[in-house]
Amino acid sequence: MATTIKSEFERIRNTEVWRTIFRSGSGSSNLHRSQAVQQNIFLHLFSVKVRSRALEFSPTWYLGALTLSTFFILIATGILLMFYYHPSVPQAYADMKDLQFVVASGVFLRNLHRWSAHAMVFLVFAHMFKVFYRGAYRPPRQFNWVIGVFLLLITLLLSYTGYLLPWDQLAFWAVTVGSNIAKAVPLMGKQIRFLMLGGNEVNANALLRFYVLHCVILPLAAILLVGVHFWRIRKDGGLYVPEKKQL
């Protein structure tokens, strides 16, 4: 059985169509495997080889990989949710009810998006502390740490803007509490809050702004910075693995 699948897969890999899509072609030599990474627009951010110790569990706990995983889940579920959502008052709330009672698996979709979002915020924090305690921010990786701090802020903003979208009491008052803090900024607190909400209180304008930020601007910023974050891993010499202690 296993050999049948394997040979069938080999046959597909040798078809012309496959070989036009994946430039590395078939074959499983290390050269081919290098090319599978180098000649792929997404994978070429990464190095062709990695230290085997960097793949062990203890140096990273895979927190970065898990964070990226939740981000993928959030993009997929988020796109599906956008099909059912209107960023207007009171339609936004009605759409939540539709997800609950009308849309097939709507509740599950919203659950998965919500819990993945919480998980991502938690994982980003965990990733940051893990990197700190390993000392992986040291040269030459200083700037990648800084990018990571900005990715933490973007994650928080993504989660915060998404929090308003259901337009229920929880969302409305959580964002009211948060946006009131912006008022405390000296000199231009009120202006910042006005810019954020598109008005002096949380209303339909604020919902629209948060929607655009949540679905367009912040995800694009996150994808861009994640790209740089990964590229810098390669440029800075791969994942940090501490030297073996001298006995």
Binding site: R33, R53, L55, A65, L66, T70, M128, Q169, F172, A174
Partner: protein, 240 residues
């Protein structure tokens, strides 16, 4: 006999290089003391990114996906009544990751808790890798032990008094815990026979500050999430 090019047997080319270095020395590079390339011996077991590392990532993705699907099947995302600006819930809480800040807002004016503290935290996080003290990671007590002990002690006492004045018991307890551990660690030498003592003695200042931040963040968030009820009063989570 024809006069062809005569092969001289002693000039035969040799393709392989002798492996005996003493017999056959070859110069590869000069390494001067001043400009020597900084090469550290590393254990360099390497594997291919494709497929090995990629497979690991896909397993991580699947684990995350399975766990989150499982949670999503068991627990529903909260959905309350439609937003009503005329009716304020008590307490009105921010998302959980901001509840640490909201807890601080309970004690300090918004200018401090909402702007100054988060600004300082973000600024401090950004500059971590640009300070030599964080790069070297030298033990806090490695040099000037007495002077440093006094500075840390005074700073801790002043900070605790500050927290007491503002009645921030929630933040005071972790400060005393971590601060106490920090001062206690000065007692041990890096050559102490006990592993835990050696570990404590080896920690740099950045470790203590970050650990304090981690504990504060956790405790403030947990208190804000579970222990705060109407009017931000203290409640126990199982009583509400």
């Amino acid at each position: 006999m024809t006069d062809g090019p005569k092969m001289k047997p002693e000039l035969k080319m040799q393709a392989e290089v002798q492996s005996d270095v003493r017999k056959n020395p070859r110069r590869i590079a000069f390494i001067l003391r001043r400009s020597s390339p900084y090469v550290k011996a590393q254990d360099d077991g390497r594997v291919m990114t494709y497929p090995t590392a990629l497979a690991r990532f896909i397993i991580a993705l699947e684990v995350a996906f399975v766990l989150l699907v499982w949670i999503s099947l068991l627990a529903n995302a909260p959905l309350e009544g439609i937003a009503d600006p005329m009716h304020t819930p008590n307490p009105a809480k921010a998302p959980w990751y901001f509840l640490g800040l909201q807890e601080l807002l309970h004690y300090f004016p918004p200018m401090v808790a909402g702007v100054l503290v988060p600004g300082l935290v973000v600024g401090a996080l950004i500059v971590i890798p640009y300070f030599n003290i964080n790069i070297e990671g030298e033990s806090l007590w490695a040099r000037d032990r007495k002077r440093r002990l006094m500075i840390v002690g005074v700073a801790l006492v002043l900070f605790c008094i500050f927290l007491l004045v503002f009645d921030v018991i929630v933040a005071l307890v972790p400060t005393i815990l971590i601060g106490g551990l920090m001062l206690w660690s000065a007692r041990f030498s890096p050559e102490s026979p006990k592993l835990f003592h050696r570990w404590l003695a080896s920690k740099p200042l950045s470790f203590w500050i970050m650990s304090w931040f981690l504990v504060e963040l956790t405790i403030l968030t947990v208190v804000g999430t579970f222990f705060r009820g109407p009017g931000w009063s203290w409640v126990l989570p199982w009583q509400s």
